[in-house]
């Protein structure tokens, strides 16, 4: 446990009543925050205070609080998921801050992620990209072949797993100056292109997913690499390279 003393902080938080509201930053002092509490537990304390005063608590998305569901977001002091590396906001702990700090908290900002209320945004565009092709077309009958019928090299399986750990949080988009979703989309494309099961539909998959990504209004990738830095799961830029190759191959063979 941390030896540090409890902290008093000033929070500057984006408040927005609903999607139509213009929104504004509002200051809130919070007192006696334990350095062992998580960032979201700190917001719980603030909200409990607000409720007790008869004010409306700050809305923010969260659920598992273990860094895996991808529900939490927050742009903290200008960084997606805050100052720590390879963690989500729910895993960020207050020991990363100092007594007296002012902390700015904003929602993800991107055209494809409209704000619903306060710090909550709508990420359904991500779902629609997955619906366009993020699957292997196999029926759930159970009458597939035995799981060990096709050996898969450990390296391919491990690489596919690394790509598959994307939690769909959207930090990559929020961080990118172009609001590009390339890291997110490429993680799924790469996972399936590394596995024999995914090879059959690889062409349609990449074309359809990229098409949907463009329709949703995500920006272009200009290789700044900010997404990789802020990604809580360490999804690698190599996935984007894989996707670009897949896309190129698919486009050429489509024309041919």
């Amino acid at each position: 446990m941390s030896e540090k003393k409890d902290m008093d902080l000033t929070l500057k938080i984006w408040r927005q009543k609903d999607a139509q509201d213009k929104g504004q930053m509002v200051n809130y002092p919070v007192k006696s925050i334990s350095p062992d509490s998580s960032f979201l537990e700190m917001l719980d304390v603030l909200n409990e205070d607000l409720v007790n005063k008869g004010d409306e608590p700050v809305a923010f998305d969260h659920d598992c609080r273990e860094g895996i569901c991808g529900m939490c977001s927050l742009y903290i002091n200008g960084e997606a998921h805050g100052p720590d590396r390879k963690v989500t906001t729910c895993q960020l702990h207050m020991r990363k801050f100092k007594d007296g700090d002012t902390i700015t908290i904003e929602p993800w900002r991107a055209n494809a992620f409209p704000v619903l209320k306060d710090l909550v945004v709508d990420r359904s565009s991500f779902d629609r990209i997955q619906q366009a092709g993020g699957f292997i077309s196999v029926n759930t009958s159970g009458n597939t072949q035995d799981a060990n019928a096709i050996p898969i090299s450990k390296i391919d399986a491990d690489n596919a797993m690394d790509a598959a750990t994307c939690i769909g949080c959207g930090a990559c988009v929020a961080t990118c100056k172009n609001a590009s979703a390339m890291l997110f989309v490429s993680a799924k494309v790469a996972q399936f292109s590394l596995l024999p099961q995914g090879k059959v539909e690889r062409k349609e998959r990449v074309l359809n997913m990229v098409h949907q990504m463009d329709l949703e209004g995500f920006g272009n990738c200009t290789n700044t690499g900010a997404c990789e830095v802020e990604c809580p799961k360490g999804i690698s830029l190599e996935n984007i390279a894989i996707m670009n190759t897949e896309y190129l191959k698919a486009s050429i063979s489509k024309k041919a």
Binding site: S34, C64, Q131, A147, I152
Partner: protein
Amino acid sequence: MSILDSKVPEGPIKDKWTKHKNDINLVNPANKRHIDIIVVGTGLAGGSAAASLAEMGYNVKAFAYQDSPRRAHSIAAQGGINAAKNYQNDGDSNYRLFYDTVKGGDYRSREANVYRLAEVSGNIIDQCVAQGVPFAREYGGLLDNRSFGGVLVSRTFYAKGQTGQQLLLGAYSAMNRQIGKGKITMYNRHEMLDLVKIDGKARGIIARDLVTGKIEKHSAHAVVIASGGYGNVFFLSTNAMGSNATAAWKIHKKGAFFANPCYTQIHPTCIPRSGDHQSKLTLMSESLRNDGRIWVPKHMKDVEAIRAGKLKPTEIEEENRDYYLERRYPAFGNLVPRDVASRAAKERCDAGYGVNATGEAVYLDFKSAINRYGNEKAHVLGIHNPSDAKIIELGEGVIEAKYGNLFQMYEKIVDQNPYKTPMMIYPAVHYTMGGIWVDYNLMTTVPGCYAIGEANFSDHGANRLGASALMQGLADGYFVLPYTIGDYLSNEIRTGEIPTDSKEFNDAEKEVSDRLEKLVNIKGTKSVDYFHKKLGLIMWNNAGMARNATELKEAIDKIKAIREEFWKDVRVSGSTNSFNPELVKAGRVADFLELGELFARDALDRNESCGGHFREESVELDGEQKGEAKRDDVNYKYVAAWEFTGEPSEAILHKEELEFNDIELKQRSYK
């Protein structure tokens, strides 16, 4: 004869499921297009069911309170999923998985259901691999396995420490395919707030759009509840913040019996509570018990020195440590089932040997494993006479490859390096074996209403074995419900679309709206969390790891009193027709305040110890098993299914007698 008909088919246990599938009625593909099914919940159970039903041709409407099906609580499962594949050639079989599950559940589950679960377990792995789930593999390219508690074989498949995530993303992708085809309509950020019954049958639900606050009526020919477990009745648990009992509780109030509500799993290896700011607890996967050894100091003077910060655990010599699981249970050691491991930790901590400031923590130590793996690795690499530092370095590398993400999670939360000093752990509420009573077809006592996954009571008896919840959720959703639901729906092919302008729908809608208005208009003085925490504390103290009649009676009275206070004095800010997380929480806590009371009543009625339910009045007094839980098969070999009558604790008890034809009833022994 009870009104509970389990509908278990006749015949030898091995043939029941095959025979049943051949006997039940089917719906012809052309007719499926005219049948609507509502699935509440898109975790492993609901997601797999929604995808499978849509593939078969039904029109599916799926609901989840999160912003995407991919975020259901199943995503958080770490350790793995069981299947009787016998890939390790260590003698595994369907029978052995069946036997382990029934025994692990302390002989309080229905044999036929458990056998079916074991039977379809292999298909799950085949299915998931076909979907592109990247399970861990060996260098030869074949699937790898690990061991979990309560068994002597290696049958657990895993994807790093993120098995639930990968399985859920598999089910999510299967759903996406059907959403893309228009066969599933997905309602994200929606909460089911009531079941609508017409002529006794489930005909739809009332749901609230959590973004706009709008109350909606949705009709269907069958309603499937896959809303997960109710561990959050304890406030602090390893469940996601939003995990709730609302959907299950609403159908209970509409006639679905609630079975064995007191069966709760308290998981032995969680990160201990550190202070009052805490909103939830974090699990450290059971897989860690493959390599971690659990201990507390042997001598009180060492405990005191540790608590005073004058001694480090690493400074305590081997002979002064009490590896109490290895001492008490030599056959299973650190891999005893969860209920046994949790009680043993509590026993040591109650005796004063807890190693942190609150006195509620024991050590989980990887030192031996690091040494063992380090030596092995040095051998493989051909390093002769490796230094201690080299061994540790190599050993830590092996441990990192196996459990890296868990160790990182621990370090982020506790701010200590678990490679260098033992982890501190303590039991926490994790899973609920109890749930909505269902028959062999997974139908509740309300015709047309089904319950699957953690929401039902079915397969785990009084204690669930590790890695079996994922198996059950996917078995229910992919392979059981899609068949059994046809039997009921075959009578619905002429019904046609069900209108939502009937009196029943309108009444239910009004009831839901009135309740929400009531909540925001109490305008009391205390927050929702205040009540939730108060309830949680009573549940933990009076109905937690050890229970007795006096304290359970007290719990019932206290919970009633809190509920009364809640409805007089809760303060819910905001309005009903907007995005209002406080209101959502208030509705859920109101339901927990009712469920908690039934929970205590059930625990009071069951005056025996079994699995996770430990009654202080019922322990072995002598012999080899002295001090262990004592089951009472003469009086309690039944499923307790409760019928709602108005006051939660005045529910009527219906008993489903359990029959054991294929497994001999025995005292569980892990000695």
